[in-house]
């Protein structure tokens, strides 16, 4: 399941469903709103493109790291401290693939998925700068 949504995720149910035949290792990454002196966080997505890009990343991760199952759920809208922002769930036969696949997915999401975060504080708001200046991996390279 690859989704951009406002609703939260049932991590227990999602993890149980990830145990497809052949699974020996499941790795879950849960990105959480950190209490950096903020009141809330507001997330915005270019939804169609974000989902398409996450589907591409999931397919690449599956091929590169021999994953058996991938879920990526990125939340948008207004989230409080401690809420889930991004859930990445991968299954593999063995742990090296599961860890590597999970890590690949989060790093690629940071590079290329059109989603933005605004931290809301008592004094207003601040758009979080991306980790990658050009937003699409290598400067100037089309995806």
């Amino acid at each position: 399941m690859i989704k951009v949504q406002t609703e939260d995720v049932d991590i227990g149910a999602l993890t149980a469903a990830a145990k497809v035949p052949g699974t020996g290792a499941v790795v879950l990454f849960d990105g959480v709103v950190r209490d950096d002196d903020i009141t809330e966080m507001e997330l915005e997505a270019y939804e169609d493109v974000a989902v398409a890009e996450m589907e591409k990343i999931a397919a690449d991760a599956t091929r590169l790291h021999r994953l058996l199952h991938v879920d990526i759920i990125h939340r948008i809208g207004r989230l409080s401290v401690g809420e889930n922002i991004l859930i990445i769930l991968v299954s593999a036969g063995h742990r090296p693939e599961a860890y590597a696949g999970s890590r690949y997915i989060i790093e690629e999401i940071k590079k290329s998925v059109p989603i933005w975060k605004k931290e809301l504080t008592k004094n207003g708001g601040r758009w979080v700068p991306g980790e990658h200046g050009h937003g699409r991996g290598k400067p100037g390279s089309p995806s």
């Binding site: 989060i106 290329s112 059109p114 758009w127 991306g130 050009h134 699409r136 089309p142």
Partner: protein
């Protein structure tokens, strides 16, 4: 002939989003975005440098596909195109 302009994040706050725009004959992606952004100086300055070129960090897409800055000045806008303009992504 019309196209849809979409701005995101800070650019959206300054310029709005999902903006239907008439496309004058011979419009390029660059000219169309420039003409639309022009209505708000802060929005224009967020996207363009003082020579009227996209700031290096600005990302431009046509129908979900990245368009290089160098190509945006020549690429003609077609009827129904969706042009998206946004700052570096910060999801995850």
């Amino acid at each position: 002939m019309t196209a849809k302009l979409r701005f995101f994040a800070k650019f959206r706050e300054l310029l709005g989003t999902d903006i239907p725009v008439p496309v004058p004959e011979g419009s390029t992606i660059l000219s169309l975005v420039r003409d639309t952004a022009w209505k708000n100086k802060e929005g224009y300055d967020a996207i363009f440098d003082d020579k009227g070129n996209f700031h290096e960090f600005v990302i431009v897409m046509r129908n979900g596909k990245r368009v290089e800055h160098g190509d945006a000045a020549a690429a003609r806008v077609a009827d129904g195109d969706e042009i998206a303009v946004f700052p570096p992504v910060a999801g995850g």
